[in-house]
């Protein structure tokens, strides 16, 4: 009996329980799931307005956290519109005007295609581990699955959401539900992840729902991932301003 007890203690040190994982490790795991060396995504954004709904299709090429190129495929009014992100700069091209316009300043707070996402949201791709200090507030069971409740406080200045509360699935290591707050503590947005699937060895959602809580009666925006490929080679020419006009 004594030997059994000794063995039990030894094993418990060798294989720590998942609940003993640190908040930093959880953030790291979430970053590993959500970010990659490169991504090519074909997606649909369903924008639910107060009077109607619109579906906008697009294709994105993303390398790391600094380079991103988006081309809108439909509806006809948006088709051909392109966006290029190089570091902290964002340009948009509209075939209607044949102009490349840099989006900066207060325009970054504007909604992307009328959705509940702003350009700032789109621009922020940095790993959360680099941006926030996290603490685990507790655990909770949602729909029969265990989640950590984590509170993230900004450790860098100038973030759109200095505070976040995340419900992280203990198996998927993804923030299934998030509340994004202003510095004052006001709830600005909520986000939730749905249809988690294993894609190229990582858990990844097939649908994101964003809701701007400042918009009265907002019904939220769905971002549906139709296809995603991780770590695929993307030529550097994809991220040139010249390509916006082509």
């Amino acid at each position: 009996m004594r030997n059994i007890l000794v063995l039990f203690f030894l094993f418990s040190f060798l294989f720590p329980q998942s609940d003993q994982i640190s908040a930093e490790d959880i953030m790291k795991a979430m970053d590993e799931n959500l970010n990659a060396k490169s991504r090519i995504i074909t997606s649909k954004m369903v924008v639910r307005g107060r009077r109607n709904s619109r579906t906008i299709e697009s294709k994105n090429w993303v390398v790391g956290t600094d380079l991103a190129f988006t081309e809108y495929l439909s509806p006809p009014r948006e088709a051909g519109t392109k966006m290029l992100k190089l570091g902290d700069k964002l340009w948009t091209y509209s075939p209607q005007t044949d102009r490349v316009i840099q989006i900066s300043g207060h325009m970054l707070r504007q909604s992307v295609m009328g959705s509940d996402m702003s350009y700032n949201d789109m621009m922020e791709d940095r790993p959360i581990e680099q941006l926030y200090d996290a603490t685990i507030e507790g655990s909770i069971e949602i729909n029969g699955r265990d989640h950590w409740i984590m509170v993230l406080d900004a450790k860098v200045k100038g973030l759109s959401y200095p505070k976040r509360r995340s419900w992280v699935d203990k198996e998927y290591l993804l923030p299934i539900k998030e509340e994004l707050y202003a510095k004052s503590g006001k709830l600005l947005k909520t986000a939730s992840l749905h249809g988690i699937k294993k894609v190229q060895g990582r858990w990844f959602p097939s649908k994101f729902i964003y809701k701007d809580e400042l918009k009265r009666n907002s019904k939220g925006t769905e971002w549906i991932i139709d296809n995603i490929e991780f770590n695929k080679e993307i030529p550097a020419s994809r991220f040139s301003k010249a390509l916006l006009r082509k």
């Binding site: 107060r50 109607n52 005007t97 316009i101 325009m107 504007q110 909604s111 992307v112 350009y119 009666n217």
Partner: protein, 485 residues
């Protein structure tokens, strides 16, 4: 008798010229003062009506609530149909759609890169419709500084202030950066075909005028409009009529559309219920109305405080509502102030003038004390002397008022046509949210043709009557005493 009195008046200049001059000057001032005040207030109301409010306007209830944010996502839809209805309901008014939008105006260099950028306040106005009177009411031909009026959908007029800021000239291309009515980011190219100055203070500081078809294309607002403006065909604003129209429209048409929208929403909500298709056609037509009424009775529409998640967004927020000019920001105060101030100012002016003329009549009567005494001594009755003095006063008052009215109306007409330019003061005082004309014009109104007779004739006669009362107090003994001295 009148000839006799007239001769006497002409021969004795102190009895005719001085009183006549006083009456002419005061009547001229009264008429011009009232005409100028009336005109100035009219200019102010007209400017507000043209730029921001119409005599009446129709918007959605939701737009009205947040109108300062220019929320085109809450704009009116199916405007063509609505304008037809409004034309039928109110044939004395003409109705025109308007899109009001904000954004940035971006000027490209030769490589298409941003050269200059500035905030813009845009108005999409119906310039091209056959029966449109927008160019007339905006007085655009007068306000055009360079270039020509828009001829094509993508033509734009830029205020001279904005054109100077962005170093724009005729023929330049500018890109509007803004939001569609779905709140999506949008860019749209306009050609600058002209520059204008509205002569209304800072109102046009960031203003761009485009045809509504261009605005609709740029902002993805097919057959939609932020507002529908209504103007009386005479372009004269009748506050009482506008308020009555607003009340009747909102109680009848507005509320019926609100009910329709609620019932449509209820129908949608109920049609998701399991078993909905098994319900009879009669029941299906009744239930949506019952649901809408129940939600309304229980105050569940937009009442999140009490009902939390059960609160239902009221589809009636997209129903049309009519606003009168007085409902605009600060305009109610201005309209009421106009009426009261006009009455008070005209009243004070008239009273002062009447006192002056009365005093003049009084002094004139007293000055002729000796003459009256002599006439009584010669055997004229007191009544005869008194009446002849009053007749003289009527004659002087009438002639003076007539000349004063002619001069006053002529002066008012001149200022009505030419105006008085207050540009410097207005540019400094006004803000872009308050529409204030730079040049104030007087207005010749029918009342100006008779208003001068109140002080001109009445006050003179009353003054003479008061002074003449002394005639009846003269005693024969006192008369002889006066004659001795």
């Amino acid at each position: 008798m009148i000839r006799f009195l007239a001769k006497g008046l002409i021969r004795d200049r102190s009895r005719s010229l001085f009183p006549l001059l006083v009456i002419v000057i005061t009547v001229t001032l009264v008429i011009f003062g009232i005409g100028f005040m009336e005109g100035a207030m009219n200019n102010f109301i007209k400017s507000a009506a043209v730029v921001s409010s119409g005599h009446v306007k129709v918007v959605t209830r939701a737009y009205q609530k947040d109108s300062h944010q220019l929320p085109n996502d809450l704009a009116l839809l199916d405007t063509e149909k609505m304008i037809k209805t409004l034309n039928q309901m109110y044939p004395d008014y003409f109705w025109t759609p308007r899109i009001t939008f904000g954004g940035l105006l971006d000027v490209p260099d030769k490589n298409g890169e941003t050269k200059e950028q500035a905030p813009v306040f845009g108005l999409g106005i119906d310039f091209f419709s056959e029966d449109s009177r927008q160019i007339e009411i905006w007085e655009l031909e007068k306000c055009l500084i360079s270039g020509h009026l828009p001829k094509n959908r993508d033509d734009a007029l830029i205020s001279t202030k904005l054109a100077e800021q962005l170093v724009l000239s005729i023929g330049d291309n500018v890109t509007l950066i803004g939001s569609t009515m779905d709140n999506a980011f949008t860019t749209y190219n306009f050609n600058v075909v002209g520059t204008f100055n509205l002569y209304k203070g800072q109102t046009d500081r960031q203003m761009m005028l485009v045809d509504i078809s261009g605005a609709r294309q740029a902002l993805d607002m097919a057959d939609a409009a932020s507002e529908i403006f209504g103007y009386h065909h005479s372009l004269y604003y009748d506050d009482q009529e506008a308020a009555t129209m607003r009340q009747s429209f909102n109680l009848t048409y507005g509320d019926s559309i609100a009910q329709e929208l609620r019932n449509e929403e209820s129908f949608d909500a109920l049609s998701y219920m399991t078993g909905w298709n098994r319900i009879s056609e009669t029941e299906r037509s009744k239930l949506p109305k019952q649901r809408s009424e129940a939600l309304s009775d229980n105050q569940m529409y937009d009442n999140a405080e009490e009902w939390e998640d059960l609160s239902v967004e009221d589809p009636a927020i997209f129903s049309p509502t009519m606003l009168a000019l007085r409902d605009g920001s600060q305009l109610a105060v201005m309209v009421d102030f106009t009426d009261v101030a006009m009455a008070i100012m005209a009243g004070i002016f008239l009273v002062i003038v009447m006192i002056v003329l009365w005093n003049m009549g009084l002094m004139n009567g007293l000055r002729r004390y000796g003459e009256v005494g002599l006439r009584l001594a010669m055997g004229e009755s007191k009544g005869q002397v008194y009446r002849s003095m009053i007749n003289e006063a009527v004659l002087i008052g009438f002639v003076g008022t007539l000349i004063g009215t002619i001069l006053g109306v002529a002066l008012t007409y001149y200022v009505q046509e030419v105006g008085i330019d207050y540009s410097e003061a207005v540019e400094q005082l006004s803000s872009s949210s308050m529409v204030m004309p730079n040049v104030f014009y007087a207005k010749v109104t029918p009342e100006l043709y008779y208003i001068g007779f109140i002080p001109g004739v009445l006050a003179t006669v009353l003054g003479t009557m008061l002074a003449g009362l002394a005639i009846y107090k003269r005693e024969m003994s006192q008369l002889f005493k006066e004659l001795e001295t």
